[in-house]
Symmetry: C2
Subunit: 453 residues, 2 copies
């Protein structure tokens, strides 16, 4: 075990987030109001999000957005996070490549999600909001926002997809321990929930139904805002602390990445590790390859179509220009619950169209092969989501070795898997399967949707 950590001091926590949009050769198209098909302004989002989050969402001009001192103070609980030269992993796969990972699993909730939960809660508090609401699937985002809300004395109601509420009681208990109200969705607490339960008794919920309930609560409750954990520009913005720290740490290591990899659900952790390095490509100084690793069962980047689509299944959100499988796409029930989302955020979708980044899809079994290999080699049991980034890194290392051209590979370890051991249990028992989605599946699903625009 010759793995080596590169550590920063608290003073090295970035003082500003990096906004990639001003440097993009093609700006992402704007979000649209689904009724009028007109572009939305930041003000149009004020009823739903905190004003500062809405302004950040629409900011296409400022490359750097200051991190409030109060947010940096809380980042200090677990940041800066370590960068690790994964010598154990290199040895285990016998590669000549140098592999590094940024370890975001060290946050108190075990994932990178806290990087955006803290500022989102802070901006709510700052404008006098008293209540927040959100939805959560597997519970990583819900856990992060529960802690963030507690730290600013805000009340939080989390709509947790009913099947997860019962199958993942540990994450539910974490949210409750931080003092959040956790409701199994669909619930009787909203009109949307009551309608679903009335129409379909015993409905087990979906991210779509949970979003509908959370949005309804936010819109109908005084002093209540809604918060989202991925997909949107301001969430990716907050996550750039990952890549900005990693940049300094790669410098300490005397290396610069040829390849940067992140797993991909809605885009937040990928954007966080990638965008700060991508700016050097856009400035013409570097030629790094960026790879998003998505599950083969939910392949919006590798097989999706580029069009305006809703962010949720029920169609309550603004229209977002995205690479999408169709907002009603029902991904297989893989254990990487955080990657089961039908579309990619507007910025990443545009970067894909402009060939400024690429994507690979990873079958579930390959992800767990990589996860257990990594656990034995580096000691950390990765989240099933993060395992996709590890698998992609191993693929790239093997390819480079075959080509006789060793590379410097950096990936983001977005979280640990200690609360996902049921998944490992099933993997070790040989109970897990692969689920593939074909281009034809996607074409059929998208064609079946009403024409959106």
């Amino acid at each position: 075990m010759d793995s080596k950590k590169f550590l920063l001091q608290e003073k090295d926590i970035p003082t500003a987030w990096f906004n990639i949009i001003p440097q993009m050769p093609t700006k992402p198209r704007p979000m649209l109001n689904p009724a009028t098909k007109q572009p939305l302004s930041a003000e149009d989002l004020f009823p739903l999000f905190s004003e500062e989050a809405a302004r950040q969402e629409m900011n296409t001009t400022d490359s750097w957005i200051e991190i409030p001192e109060q947010v940096r103070d809380i980042y200090k609980i677990w940041r800066p996070t370590p960068l690790v030269r994964a010598a154990g992993l290199e040895k285990a796969i016998g590669t000549n490549c140098r592999i590094y990972f940024k370890n975001e699993s060290v946050s108190p909730v075990g994932s990178h999600k806290l990087n955006s939960a803290i500022p989102q809660a802070f901006y709510c508090k700052q404008q006098g909001v008293t209540n927040i609401t959100t939805e959560t699937g597997a519970g990583q985002w819900g856990a992060a926002l529960s802690l963030a809300s507690r730290m600013f004395g805000l009340d939080l109601a989390v709509y947790m997809v009913k099947v997860s509420y019962h199958q993942k009681p540990y994450r539910r208990s974490i949210m409750q321990t931080y003092g959040a109200e956790v409701v199994a969705s669909p619930s009787m607490s909203t009109k949307a929930g009551r309608k679903i339960i009335t129409d379909t008794p015993n409905h087990q919920g979906s991210l779509g139904t949970a979003i509908s309930e959370a949005v309804e609560l936010a819109m109908s409750t005084p002093n209540c805002k809604y918060a989202l954990g991925s997909v949107l520009n301001h969430v990716s913005l907050h996550q750039t602390v990952i890549g900005l720290e990693a940049e300094k740490q790669m410098e300490m290591a005397g290396d610069y990445p040829d390849i940067v990899i992140g797993c991909f659900g809605g885009g937040s952790n990928f954007s966080g590790i990638a965008f700060p390095f991508m700016r050097h490509n856009l400035e013409g100084n570097k030629n790094t390859t960026f790879i998003a690793a998505e599950p083969a069962s939910c392949p919006k980047l590798t097989r999706g179509v580029m069009q305006y689509d809703f962010g949720d299944e029920a169609g309550y959100t603004p229209l977002i220009p995205m690479l999408t499988l169709g907002h009603n796409f029902a991904p297989a029930n893989i254990h990487a619950g955080g990657l089961r989302y039908h579309g990619a955020g507007a910025v990443v979708s545009q970067l894909m169209c402009d060939n400024l980044m690429s994507a690979v899809d990873i079958p579930q079994l390959e992800s767990f092969d990589a996860a257990t290999l990594f656990a034995k080699a580096e000691g950390i049991i990765p989240a099933p989501e993060s395992a996709h980034a590890i698998a992609a890194a191993i693929r790239q290392a093997r390819k480079a070795d075959e080509e006789g051209s060793p590379k410097v590979i950096l990936f983001n370890l977005s979280g640990h898997g200690l609360i996902d051991m049921t998944a490992y249990d099933r993997y070790l028992a040989g109970d897990l399967a692969n689920y593939e989605v074909t281009d034809e599946d996607v074409a059929r699903n998208v064609a079946g949707l009403d024409k959106i625009i």
Copy 2:
């Protein structure tokens, strides 16, 4: 949230462990062979433990024992660990005291146990051992030794108490993910196990039965040694990295602790945080108060008797001079499984007798009150074991405030509770109870044992 971390660099990881025995005014009495009642030598322990562990166990002369470079290299995966000024906790309880905690929860397995698992596995590897075996109750020690064994390419068999094997599947899966063989104990794989199952079909196991099976396997398998995660001197020795780092970090903070607190099961994490500070008391330079926080349901320090006793329920181990509730004491099934042990190690027992440290017992509900308060204030969900240290720290802070004499309090956060959320769930549901043990209960239990010496 004004909590502040004090961080060291890798070069600050101690290069030697601190052995308190040479400085003790009264040396602990020796372990005895139960058959001959004669003191044991290091060589007597060679069949069971690695030779270096056995030598360290018996070392009463060297105050500093060098940490092998290979062990320090692996410590670097997660060490040095942070020291935190718990300003959030201070504010939450409104104290004038300054409270610090050492955060051992950041290890890949989530607890301090890895500090001793790594050297124990290393010394086995060094002398050509190929197999290790151990027992585990709740699974913290088993998980740590699983990772340590994997890192040195050793095969590990863990006998896990049967009721935990079924009730705590997450910890079992963690061990299996690291490649350990995990056997529910009692099992059919040993004579001891077969006898228990034959005598008592459907026996749910105990730490005593699991130790018997592990010891039998070690003694009957070529090239196989046994490893223990607490109680013994060499385990406490390895854990002193905690206190040695904390000493430097308190200096960075410009403070020195008036009170040092650790939770107490067999003694390893308490010894680890306390002994390095205690040496300054023994040298006459400081007057710090040391407090071990044990559960009210298993109060060997506050209510136990000092006598020679077995380390296991079945009576297979050497006789150890200990504060004990009797080796057949059956503690209530509290969620802090790591604190359910009948006796204290020889060194701590002697220090208690000499009034060089003290102890408090904490009811289960008070420990969870403290745990949830801490989670909300500092963001980290503590292990149920560590919650006892937090509760004791809160008691001390309130006492100091009442006396109008604010203190500097340092406690050890031995692990996180992310794999113990079932316990929090039951606490939040109001399902947890307190279990008290009286002096009369102890006297009755000890009197019922055969006279040992």
